[in-house]
Structure formats: structure tokens, C-alpha cells
């Protein structure tokens, strides 16, 4: 008897809980079209013909949705954290804690009026996210406003998949304890190696597969062209790249997304083997390494340019101070004029493919002379982000 109980318990733990299917009259976990018709008539009877209430309006809508998009059955999705979620209804009230996922939802044509709460950084980016100016601000993954989240009565919350893992785990646990009905999904949406898989999974959740394939086609055409031309280049023939964050002499190493993008673009990060993903290095180490290419990141602590488009002249000021650093006049990169600034808006998040195409162009100007990163940028904004009125100056993102 005890064995049987243990077996039942094990089965319950292993199998995802089978969710109730609205309108499923015979309990076969499927709502067929005849069952849907019967449920609709019962609902109409309850609402308009003085009969007993059947399913609620939302349950009828859920049943109709399942019939239309999922052959009347529940569907399941596994997110980046490896957690499987069984869905029986569309996402209607969504809170998103990371702007990269909001941007991705927009890329696949998700109805953004269903996003009822956004993180504070998205709220601040009014030029890029104009539709969320009046949307509730739910704080950040490091300082979430639980009261605000729960007051919004969300049916889904999106958090980072692997970034800020402990903070996001904490939010997920708190939400589960407060309201187990809230579906939590975990995606990063900025890492090249996992981004396309994440786009497909988000498309499955939102039933936007067709639109997602159009975006995937665009993204892979850009990244595919780059990797096709750079993948076979031997390590010894790759240009040595020094990449610097907005803080002087803070660089990137193995495990950092920027390091991954340098490699994809065909460069060799001279501090790839340093410990920590964003180590501070000795200025002498740069001079000794004598990089072929120097790239500095603008944005955040060097707040100019980008979608805000403010103080673009600062690019030149930073560029001049960079090239005037003590001992740098002997560096190959300085002598050959291969120093560039790039804004994190197009390299750090979901738009990393735009920034990566600039890196590729700077690493191999001849190989990528037909690549037009600015045209890629504009097509992304207009065709996939639906920001037809946003045509930013290239000078706000890269220099020179």
C-alpha cells in the first residue's frame, strides 16, 4: 500500500499537472467543436435567455482559443530555466520585468496593450518604448514592487532566465506563494546562442509562430552572413580586439555576452581568459597586448547618444580622450585609425545582432563591405519593432 502511495506521489511530481480544459464535457482533456457549440449555447442561455449560468465569458473565450489554435487541447512550453508550463488560455494581462523580452514580444507582433506592467528601465526608455509611458511600473528584478504587480492582476509574468538568477528565483517563489494562478516565464532575450530558441518558445506561448518565423529569418540572415564569413578564420588570423566598458580599463572576458559577440564578429578578445566576466585590467596590459582594434562602449555610465539621442558630440570627446591615453600612440589600433565607440542600445540587448554587424564590419572592412548595419538597424525598427516614426541618426550609436 505504501509503495502504491509512493508511486502515485512520484507520478504527480514528475508529470506536469493536467489543467482543466474549459468546455471539455466528457473529460477527455479536449474541447471538440461540438462541445464548444454546446458550451456556447449554455453560456448564451445563462447570459441572455434567463437560464442557468454555464461557463463564464472568459472560460468560453479560452475554450474558443484552444479550439482555434491548439485542436482543443492544452499546450505546454518549456522556458530557459527548464521549467515546463501547461497553458489552457491566452496571455491577457502580462507583467514583464525585462525590456529585452518586451522588445522580443514586439518583434513577433504580440498585442502590447496586453502588457499591463513593465520594469522601471523600460518605463524610462520613452523614445524606444513610447507605448509604455503610462503603463504601471513594477520596479526591477532587484527591487520588485510586489504590491504593484499583484494589484495589476496579471495572468503571466516574465522574468530573466539566467541573468540575476537569485533575484528572479525569489520573485517567482513570492508570486507562486501569493497567487499560484500567475504563470511565470523565464527568458533572457539578449544572448546570441540562445536567443532564437527563446523567440520560438515565446512565440509558442503567445501563438505568434508565423510572425516569429519572419523575425527569425531576418535575424538569422544577418547573423548567418557574419558567422559564415568569420567561423572558419583561424585564431592566428583574427584581429586582436580590446573591448572597454564605459568605465576605463574595465573589459570583458569569457562568459560575457560581449566576448561572445566579438568572437562571432571574427575578432579575438585579448582579455578572453581573464577571470570574472567584466574584469578591471592593468593599463599596461593593453599596451603590451597592442590590439589591432579598440572598441569602447557608450551608454549607461557614459550616457549620451543611443535612442535618447542626446549630446552626440560627446562621442568625439570620449574618442579624443581615448586616443590620447598615455602610451597609446604606439598601438596598432591608434596608428591605423581602428578605434570605435558603440552604444550599448544596439549591442547589449535584443538588438545585439545590429551591434555585432558593426563589430564584423570593423574587424573585416573588406569582407563586410556589402553589409549595411545602419540599414539593418532601420529595417528592424520599422518592420519588426513597428516604430515607423523612429529613424535615428547612425551617429547616435557609433563613432566614427
Amino acid at each position: 500500500m505504501r509503495r502504491l502511495l509512493l508511486l502515485c506521489l512520484a507520478i504527480c511530481l514528475v508529470l506536469p499537472a493536467s489543467a482543466a480544459i474549459p468546455g471539455d464535457l466528457d473529460g477527455d482533456q479536449t474541447v471538440r467543436s461540438d462541445e464548444l457549440s454546446a458550451a456556447i449555447l449554455t453560456y448564451l442561455d445563462g447570459r441572455y435567455q434567463g437560464g442557468d449560468a454555464g461557463l463564464t465569458q472568459q472560460e468560453i473565450c479560452d475554450a474558443a482559443y484552444l479550439c482555434e489554435y491548439h485542436d482543443g487541447r492544452a499546450w505546454s512550453v518549456t522556458d530557459t530555466s527548464g521549467r515546463e508550463t501547461v497553458l489552457t488560455s491566452p496571455l491577457r494581462r502580462v507583467v514583464v520585468f525585462n525590456g529585452e523580452t518586451i522588445e522580443t514580444l514586439r518583434s513577433i507582433g504580440f498585442d502590447t496593450t496586453r502588457i499591463v506592467g513593465v520594469d522601471k528601465y523600460t518605463s524610462e526608455k520613452t523614445a524606444f518604448f513610447p507605448e509604455f509611458t503610462d503603463t504601471a511600473n513594477v520596479g526591477s528584478v532587484w527591487s520588485p514592487d510586489y504590491e504593484a504587480v499583484l494589484a495589476l492582476r496579471p495572468d503571466a509574468v516574465f522574468l530573466y532566465g539566467t541573468t540575476s538568477k537569485s533575484s528572479c528565483d525569489g520573485i517567482q517563489e513570492t508570486l507562486a506563494a501569493s497567487n499560484p494562478e500567475i504563470r511565470v516565464f523565464r527568458f533572457d532575450c539578449y544572448i546570441p546562442g540562445t536567443y532564437m530558441q527563446e523567440v520560438r518558445e515565446i512565440a509558442e506561448i503567445t501563438d505568434r509562430e508565423e510572425e516569429a518565423e519572419a523575425f527569425i529569418g531576418f535575424y538569422t540572415s544577418v547573423m548567418g552572413e557574419i558567422s559564415n564569413k568569420t567561423a572558419g578564420i583561424p585564431e592566428s588570423e583574427r584581429p586582436d580586439v580590446y573591448f572597454e566598458y564605459w568605465h576605463d580599463y574595465q573589459t570583458v572576458s569569457n562568459g560575457s555576452g560581449y566576448d561572445e559577440k566579438i568572437t562571432l564578429a571574427g575578432g579575438r578578445n585579448i582579455f578572453h581568459d581573464e577571470s570574472g566576466s567584466s574584469p578591471e585590467i592593468d593599463p599596461e596590459a593593453v599596451i603590451i597586448s597592442n590590439p589591432d582594434l579598440i572598441i569602447k562602449l557608450a551608454g549607461k555610465s557614459l550616457e549620451f547618444g543611443g535612442y535618447k539621442g542626446t549630446e552626440i558630440s560627446e562621442f568625439k570627446t570620449v574618442y579624443d580622450s581615448l586616443t590620447a591615453r598615455a602610451g597609446w600612440d604606439h598601438l596598432s589600433a591608434i596608428k591605423n585609425g581602428r578605434v570605435h565607440l558603440i552604444h550599448s542600445d544596439i549591442l547589449g540587448g535584443a538588438q545585439h545582432f545590429i551591434g555585432t554587424s558593426y563589430l564584423a564590419e570593423w574587424c573585416y572592412p573588406e569582407k563586410f563591405q556589402d553589409l549595411d548595419p545602419h540599414a539593418i538597424h532601420l529595417r528592424y525598427l520599422h518592420e519588426f519593432q513597428h516604430l515607423e516614426g523612429l529613424t535615428p541618426d547612425e551617429a547616435a550609436f557609433t563613432y566614427p
Partner: protein, 164 residues
Amino acid sequence: MKSPALLILIICLLALTMPAMAGSPSVERSISTPVPGSEFTVTLVIDGIQTGGIVETLPEGFNFAGTACPEGSWSLKGDTLAFAVTNMTEITYQLRAPEGALSGRITGVWEDFLNETTGTVSATEAGTTAPAEGTPEPTASGCMALLPFLALGLLCILMRGGRT
């Protein structure tokens, strides 16, 4: 003369393009002319609703006489007639008009369960006065269709007038 002509041309174009512009869900009702004591047909044209429901409220004295919709997709209760809409673009049903002259209105509501919207079906007068012999049977929603042709005719007249 140019301004009225331009205005009429715009009206023409708007009238011609109106049906194409109608992207949101809608249900329109038309009826054949009721004759006292006889059956007549009510047609509901459904646009943009894949899965939904329609409830018609029948006027007093008019009785439901049948529908071609399959069993299990409609129900009659008192003076209300409900339809479950699944991938249909048109529903027809028959009503029997009362003996003698009577008037009444058919009203209706619809719900679109995929777009999660609701709306009303414009009321239709269902008077039972027999039409004069030879008079074509008008439909309740057919008048709008004549608008482009009327406007075009008026435009031609105005343009001719402008040449003289």
C-alpha cells in the same frame, strides 16, 4: 462647380470602399418582406467572427419556423433564438408572420469569443404589410449599396452642367 464635384467624388469613393474597410467584427441582418400569415427568411451576415454567439430577440406575434443550421448549434427559448457561431459567414432562419397587419422589431446581440468583443445587430423592422404588386423586395440593409451609384449619377449630372 469643382468643389461639389470633388466632394461627391470623395463620397463615391468612401461609399465604394466602406465594405472593404470594415475590418472589425460585425453582424448584419436582412429580411425578405413579411407577408401576414406566411413565412419569411431572416439572414444574418457574419463578418470577422470565427467563433462566437448570436442571440436574436423576436418580436411579439412572430414565431420561429426553422433554420438550416445543424442541430446543436442553435436553441430557442421563449422569444429568444441563440446561435453558436463556428466558422460561419451566414445564418438563415425562418419566421412566421402573424395574421393581419402587425409591426415589430427584431433585435440582436453578438459576441466574438476569439477577439473577445461584443456588439449589437442593428434592429430590423418586421412589419407585415404586404408589398404592392410589382414592387421589388427591399432588404433592410440594402439601401447603402445604392449610395455609390446615386452619387456617381449625381456626379455625372454635375460634371455635364459644369461643361455648359
